[in-house]
Assembly symmetry: C3
Homo-oligomer: 344 residues x 3
């Protein structure tokens, strides 16, 4: 695909500053861009790159004033970052615009398949599955019996959705993630062994959720594990049975949430965080990477850190002193010595 | 499936207290139950729910005495929790009662397949594999050459068993878990690169083990990585080469056990725990979530916490003071100031 | 396969000390070896095993002098460990010498397939894929459109390579690992939801890299996430978008590297380590398990520990005192009491 500055200017409703016939055929960061690349400058911190870049066309904010000579053609728009993001999105929606049903795949006769879907080879669509319009089921995906996937979804290669689980619309799930495996529930028996507590619930994933690769979300013992609208989960995350994640909450890679815990909406959970079971985390909580949350968070919109976690500021102060512990011990020894001298 | 109170009473060997003709068609928690649901009350803590629930039938302990009016029909049994667990189990064993061989799947002519098995589409059964009776191999599972799976097992979609690995009977493995990938063994070479140490051992998983989703268990360099009878592993766990996990040990999500470590039986390991290699962990050890175990645990049946870990009680005491470090520093500064005044 | 001591002596360029007609048919550790096993002794620490072992043949260093009677036939070589490693490698290269194309598999007509490859059943090879000579693609692997895999690679069952990603030569990737899932990039919108930032870059994996099972490596937003020559990654690792891992760096299980961070060559990162985004880690850094790295590491070849991390020695000193905090508090209380008495 090749575009002129003029075409891009029209697409983005921007004005061209330079040669409207300059062409580009790829997107690149301004610092890496080669001739033939389209790039952008939004953050003034990176302004120096615009005087060195080999990009052929650069999208800038409308009010950008150059403080030196510039080689590329500029396209001036209301918001350079938003405009460029839009281009990335267009690029991918053209690139990943798969359709049709590849053979061999397995579609149970009772499954209901929507319009304009993609079903890749070796995908498995079980009994009574409902698959919405325009959804893409990549090769080797598994949709268990009676599961449902809404419209406009993308399930990448190897995603596994267990029976009875419900996926909303415009959901993206990356390769290797597992939705609906059994919750970890066992009852200790008298002989020291454990009896399995059957997990008959399901997982409900609401609209506009994105889930990274190799993440595990367990089905509820009874009822549902629920991932609410707009939640974004990174890779390798553990969501245990009967958990609820509030809308628009973001969780970074390798974090784990234990059973029956409810996380409020608009929260931000860092990487490798661990959260115990059976607690509530208030709306808007921000939890630093590697923290361990061992009790409920009641106050909204607060920052937390440490394992076990305390308020972010308290934790920062304590951590600073932790590093000075040897010095502190020397001072105490010195105080003891002096006081002893004194009391001789 | 629809059942009357009378039918359930007979099934559970309990007595019906209310209308024996009341019917239910689903199982639910007492606090969530709708009309037509069967629920249970075991823990007195939740007794208040029984006066509000919409459940049609509730299983209670034989000696339960109501302190107010109750709408649902009761079924009185020896142990309400056990009785309800049994129903969950029955429900799932009917629901997941898959049989037969779906096409296309790949079964090497030299494989020995037991009676009454389920083999899902796109499953791969390699050369010389032995698969026991009544086992269920879900779609897209891989059984490498010369691996074996006992009887009564369930391997959910996408499980990968490498060559030569041995799975016992009544084992459940959830989607995406990998058994028998190479141990992480490399020898540093003079040019700074690493030479691979070939891993020619295997993994042995004994009877009654359950393994969650996306867990990795590496094969031994030589000999076997062994998961003993009755072990329960959660999701996203790392078990390195030549590890041994003792019988009935339970490990929570995202924990990791390094190479050649042996964990005693009846231990409980929390989520995100890390354990170094080449050590023994005594029988009955209980390790708190996020702990880091960096040396052998010799005493049996003790609790540990922290990273690096110490005894649970010591760790709790130290953590309380950690949070008071800024206050402690102020006190030391004050002591120094006073003592200086004094010695003027 | 059965070999005589004489044959092995010739293969390893060693001298036979004992009966050259003794035969072996398996490899085993000296402490576990049964009759018919070939074993080795390299580390003097394990010398006592050679006087008890049931191994039929043991490889030893040329200069080994027995201090007691020995049953097995010895083969004396320059370096017993290296010689034995070589045998392990030969054993596996014969054992895993798969070739040919199993049916059914999906190979897009535009894909270019090299010579002497193995492609397992249910593998998916997308449009414009290039697969090098002698590479092994196990069952249920996915190679997305326009991805490439060099020569001499092994991708075990269920590996997923997204579109446009490039895998070098002699690369090993274990089951369930995902290369090229979307980076975790979202822009907060005014209504509290998040807009996806499309990830149009790729992942480049250079030659001689090995990647364990269930590891996730995200594609770059633009440009490439790069895993350089000779890197060894363990299981369940998270590599975020636009990360670069320097050559011959080794990362243990369950570690995570956040977006745009660059790790220098020859580094060693322990298990469950977390590293924040947008920083550089100097060449030769050694980071202890469970550490949290929250800022750049500038000095080369240093050891780090703790979360947040400090220099290894400082951290060790502080941790020792952490365990003595209750004692330290008692001392401070005592000092305050004494000083008060004094100033009465």
């Amino acid at each position: 695909m090749q575009f002129t500055a003029q075409q891009i200017g029209i697409l983005l409703d921007g004005s061209v500053d330079g040669n409207p016939e300059d062409t580009v055929n790829q997107l690149a960061k301004i610092e890496d861009a080669q001739s033939g690349s389209l790039s952008f400058l939004a953050n003034p911190k990176y302004e120096h790159f615009i005087y060195q870049t080999n990009a052929s066309i650069v999208i800038v904010n409308k009010d950008f004033v150059a403080s030196g000579p510039i080689k590329p053609t500029l396209i001036r728009v209301e918001n350079a970052y938003t405009a460029f993001s839009l281009l990335l999105q267009q690029y991918n929606s053209i690139k990943l615009n798969k359709k049709g049903i590849e053979e061999p795949c397995y579609i149970h006769p009772s499954a209901k398949i929507g319009k304009d879907v993609y079903i890749g080879a070796f995908a498995y669509i079980g009994a009574d599955v409902v698959l919405g319009d325009h959804s893409k089921i990549y090769p080797q995906v598994y949709l268990g019996d009676n599961s449902s996937v809404g419209s406009g979804c993308t399930l990448f290669s190897g995603v596994k959705i267990y029976h009875d689980c419900q996926i909303g619309s415009n959901v993206i799930i990356h390769a290797g993630s597992v939705i609906g495996s059994d919750g970890f529930g066992f009852a200790p028996l008298e002989d020291g062994s454990y009896g399995k507590i059957s997990q008959i619930g399901n997982v409900i994933i609401e609209d506009d959720v994105e889930i990274g690769s190799n993440t595990s979300i367990d089905r509820a013992t009874m009822g549902s594990t629920i991932i609410k609208k707009g939640v974004k989960l990174d890779n390798l995350i553990q969501i245990a049975h009967n958990v609820e994640i509030g809308s628009n909450t973001v969780i970074a890679s390798q974090a784990g949430v234990s059973g029956s815990t409810k996380i409020g909406p608009q929260s931000v959970i860092g990487g490798q965080v661990g959260i115990v079971g059976h607690i509530n985390i208030a709306k808007g909580s921000q939890i630093q990477a590697q923290s361990g949350i061992n009790r409920a968070i009641v106050e909204e919109d607060k920052k937390w850190a440490g394992s076990p976690a305390s308020s972010f500021n308290d934790q920062m102060r304590a951590q600073v002193i932790f590093n000075r512990l040897p010095e502190m011990q020397r001072k105490i020894d010195e105080l003891e010595r002096k006081l002893k001298e004194f009391t001789k």
